[in-house]
Symmetry: C3
Subunit: 339 residues, 3 copies
C-alpha cells in the first residue's frame, strides 16, 4: 500500500493549490488517521471540531483549513477544502493496482461482441451478442454483460456485476460486486384474480462518473428507460424501480428503495433506509433524513424528515399507546378549549 | 425490438376480445407510450384519469376502457381491462428472444443430474448431483442449482441465480439475477453467552408462475419447508425467513422483510419496505401500505398502514419532540377534563 | 437426511448431559417437529408454552425442560437448555454432507495463492494473488477470493461469496451466497457541486465462528478496518458500512443497515429492518426492536424501540393527521392548564 518514494509537501501544495506552514521539504509516503500517523504519513483534519486531535499526532504533515493551529511538529497543508485535497492526495499516494489488458482465457465472449484492446476482461466473465466494452474498461471476475449492453471507457465492474440486455453504462463509473442492472421492472396487470406480467421493454441508462454499491439493483423501464444521470453515487443494497430518473450528482445512502416512475432532482442527498413511493417528484437540492418514508412530491429544496426516534421500550410504548388515541385526544382538547 | 409485419387491430381485437372503434385495418408493429407513439404504435390508457393524453397522441391505435372518447385519429381497441389486454398484446409484439436448447460447454454438470434435452443451460452454470432441470427451462449464465434441487418446465433463471440443496421451483417461473433460494434460516440457540447454530433441515418449495426479483433471498425451513404458492410475485431485495408461507397470487414490493414462521394469505398486496415480524399470521386479502411495520397478526381483510409521513425537518421535529411526552399530555388532558 | 442406525436416548443423554425419563433404550434416527414426528424421531419443546403439543406427538423421544409432564408414550430427555441440546443432537443426526478436498478443474487459481491441501475449492472459483485458504476450508461454486485475502480453517463459503482484496475471515465461519465483503466504503468529498471519491484503503476483519447471511454486504474501512468480532451472527440482506465495529456474539436480523463508523457492543440483539446512523456508539447488552431507527448513541444496556405499530388505514390516518399538529395541541393544552 505504501509508495517508497513519496512526495514532498512542497510538491503536493503546488499540485493541489495549498499553502504550506512549517517545513516544506517533509516527505510523505502514505495517508493515515491523526491517531495512527507516523512521521512519513499525511493526515487531515476534516472539520474544525476535530482540530484538537492535531496536538498529539506524529504525522509528518496534516491537511487543514485556514486558521487551524498547528502543533509545532507536523507541517501543515492549508486549503479551504481539506477533504477534497485529502481525497486527491490519497489517490496519488495509493493508486489502484493496474490490471493487464486482454481477455482471460476462461471468459466466454460472443463473437459479435466488441471489446476494445485496452480493456481487461476477468476470469469467468460472460459477454453477450453485440455487447460493447470501451477502452480501458475493467471487468473483474465473473461479470455478465448481455446482448447489446455497453460499458463506457474507463468504467470498472469490480466483480460479479450483471448488466442485462441493452443496458448502457457511461464512462468512468465504478460498479461493485453483486450489482444487477436491467432486471425486469415490477409491472403486472390484474387479470381475474391472477397477475399478468407486463413486458418490460425499456432499458437502463447510466451516465458518467456514477458509482453503484454492492448488491444494488436498478430495474429496466417499462417502455422508456430508467435513467441515472452523471455523477450520481449509490451506496449498497439500494433498489431503484422501473422508469425512475435520478438527477446528476445526487447521493443515495444504503438500503434506500425508490418505487417506479419517481423522479429525483439533481444534487439531492437521500439518507439510509429512506423509502420513496412511486410516481413522486422530488425537486433539485432536497435532503431527506435517514429512515424517512416519502409518499408525496417535494417541490421546495430543503431538509425533510419523517422519523420519530426511539427510546427505552416501556417509555416508548407508553407514548405509542397514546398515539393510537391521538384523534380522541385532539377532540377532547377542542371540547375543553370551547368551554 | 420491432416486428416488421405487425398485426391489424381487427386481428388483435378478435384475438383478445376487444371492440374496435375507427379503422380496423390499421396495422401496429410495436407498443409505445401515448407521448412517444408513432402511427405504427399501439398505446393504451390504463386509467380514465389519463384519457386526456389521448388528444395529442400519434399512435395508430390505443387500448381504452368503454366510454373513453377518441381523438378522431387513432383507432380504439375497447376492453374492460385495458392493462391486461395491453400486457398480452405487448408480449405478442415483443416476444422474448429464443435461446437454443443444450448445455453450454463451460457449464459444470454433475453426471447424476438430469437435464431435459429441450432445456438451455448457459455459460458457467453449475448443476449438482441429482438436480433436475425440466423441459424448456432456461438457465442463463452462471446459475447454480445444487444437489437434488428441481427447476420446473418452462421456468427461466435469468442469470446468476442460486438454488441450494433440495430447493424446488415450479413451472413457468422467472427468477432474476442474484436471487438466493434455500440459504440456511437464521436459527440459533443461546448457549452460555454464545450462539449455537440450529441445523436448517427443511427446504424451499416455490409454486408455478412465481416471479422473484433481483437479489431477493428466501431461506430454507428449519424442519419443514418455506413455501411460496402459485402466482406469487416478489420484487427485488426482499427477505423471506425460514418456515414462512406466502399464499397464492400475493404481490410483495421491493425491500420487504418477512421474519420466520410467518404466514401471509392469498391475494395480499404488501407495499415496499414493509417489515413483518416472526410468527405472525396475515389473512387473505390484506393490503399493507409501504413502510409499515407489522408486529401482530391481521384477521380481517382490508387496508393497513403504519407510517406517519414526513415534513420539513424543523416542523417535523417539533411534533416528534412532543411525541416523546405524549403520555404526559394525555394525563394532563384527563386531569383538565375532570375539573 | 436420515441416519439408518440412529442413537439410543441413553447414549444421547450421556453425551449431552440430560436426564432420561421413560425407556432409555428407544432409538432415534432423525429430528422432527412434535406434529410430524414418528416413533424414530426426536422432537423438542423449546418453551413451556408449547408443552401442550406433547400430548399428541408420536415422537420416540422429546427434549424438554425440567418439570414438563410427559405423555406416557414418548421418552423424555430432560435438560435446562432444550434448544441448545436439540441443536447439538440435530447436528449429530444430520451431519453436513462432506465435500472432497482439492481444487475443481474449472477454478482459476493465481500461482501465488496458497491453498491448504485439505481445503475444497468448487467449480468456477477465482482465487487471486497471495490469497490464503486455510485447512478444511470449503469454497462452494463460484466464490471469489481476491488478492491477499484470507479464509480461516474450517470456514465455509457456501457459494458465490465475494471477498475483495485483503479481507480476512477467521475460522469456523459460514458465509452464505451473495455475500460481498470488502467493497469500497461510501465516502465522498464535495468538490464544486460534484463528489470526489475518497479512496477506501482499509479492509475488513471477520473473527471466528461468524455466520453471514445471503446477499449481506460489509464495506472495507477508509483508513483502518471494519471489524466483525467472534461469534457474531448476521442474517440476510444486511448492510454494514465502513469503519463499523460489531462486538462479539451480537446477533443482527435481516435487512438491518448500519452506517459508517458506528460501533455496536457485545451480546447485542438487533431486530429486523433496524437502521443505525453513522458515528453512533451502542454499548454491550443492548436489544433494539425491529424497524427502529437509532440516530444517537446508547449508553445503557436494555431494550429500545422506535416503532408505533400499525392499524386499519382510516383509523391510522386520523391519528397520523393529528400528529402533524401535535406541537399545536401541546401548546393549547398548556394554555388550558394555566387557566
Amino acid at each position: 500500500m505504501r509508495q517508497t518514494e513519496g512526495y514532498s509537501i512542497e510538491e503536493l501544495a503546488h499540485r493541489f493549490g495549498c499553502v504550506v506552514q512549517g517545513d516544506p521539504s517533509v516527505r510523505v509516503t502514505h495517508v493515515a488517521s491523526l491517531e495512527n500517523a507516523d512521521p512519513e504519513a499525511l493526515a487531515f483534519v476534516a472539520r474544525p471540531k476535530y482540530a484538537h486531535l492535531l496536538a498529539d499526532t506524529r504525522a509528518g504533515a496534516v491537511i487543514v483549513s485556514p486558521g487551524t493551529a498547528g502543533n509545532g511538529r507536523s507541517s501543515l497543508l492549508i486549503t479551504s477544502n481539506p477533504l477534497a485535497v485529502y481525497a486527491r492526495i490519497a489517490s496519488l499516494l495509493h493508486p489502484e493496482e493496474g490490471v493487464p489488458a486482454g481477455v482471460h482465457e476462461t471468459a466466454t465472449i460472443d463473437p459479435t461482441a466488441h471489446i476494445e484492446p485496452s480493456a481487461s476482461i476477468g476470469a469467468g466473465c460472460v459477454i453477450g451478442p453485440r455487447a460493447h466494452i470501451g477502452p480501458h474498461a475493467v471487468l473483474g471476475p465473473q461479470c455478465i454483460v448481455l446482448r447489446d449492453a455497453r460499458v463506457g471507457a474507463g468504467t470498472r465492474l469490480v466483480a460479479r456485476v450483471t448488466l442485462l440486455d441493452r443496458v448502457i453504462v457511461g464512462e468512468g463509473c465504478i460498479l461493485h460486486p453483486g450489482v444487477v442492472i436491467g432486471a425486469d421492472g415490477f409491472g403486472m396487470a390484474p387479470d381475474g384474480g391472477q397477475w399478468l406480467k407486463i413486458p418490460q421493454l425499456g432499458s437502463v441508462r447510466i451516465g458518467n462518473d456514477v458509482e453503484i454499491g454492492a448488491n444494488t439493483t436498478i430495474d429496466r423501464g417499462t417502455l422508456g428507460d430508467t435513467v441515472i444521470e452523471d455523477g450520481v453515487k449509490l451506496d449498497n443494497l439500494i433498489q431503484i424501480g422501473h422508469n425512475v430518473r435520478i438527477g446528476a450528482h445526487t447521493v443515495i445512502s444504503a438500503c434506500v428503495g425508490i418505487a417506479g416512475s419517481t423522479t429525483i432532482g439533481k444534487h439531492c442527498l437521500i439518507g439510509g433506509k429512506v423509502g420513496i413511493a412511486d410516481h413522486v417528484d422530488i425537486c433539485d437540492g432536497v435532503s431527506i433524513l435517514a429512515m424517512t418514508g416519502v409518499n408525496s412530491s417535494i417541490q421546495e429544496p430543503g431538509v425533510y424528515s419523517g422519523t420519530i426516534g426511539f427510546a427505552e421500550v416501556t417509555r416508548f410504548r407508553r407514548n405509542a399507546a397514546r398515539f393510537r388515541h391521538l384523534d380522541d385526544m385532539a377532540k377532547e382538547l377542542r371540547r375543553l378549549g370551547k368551554r
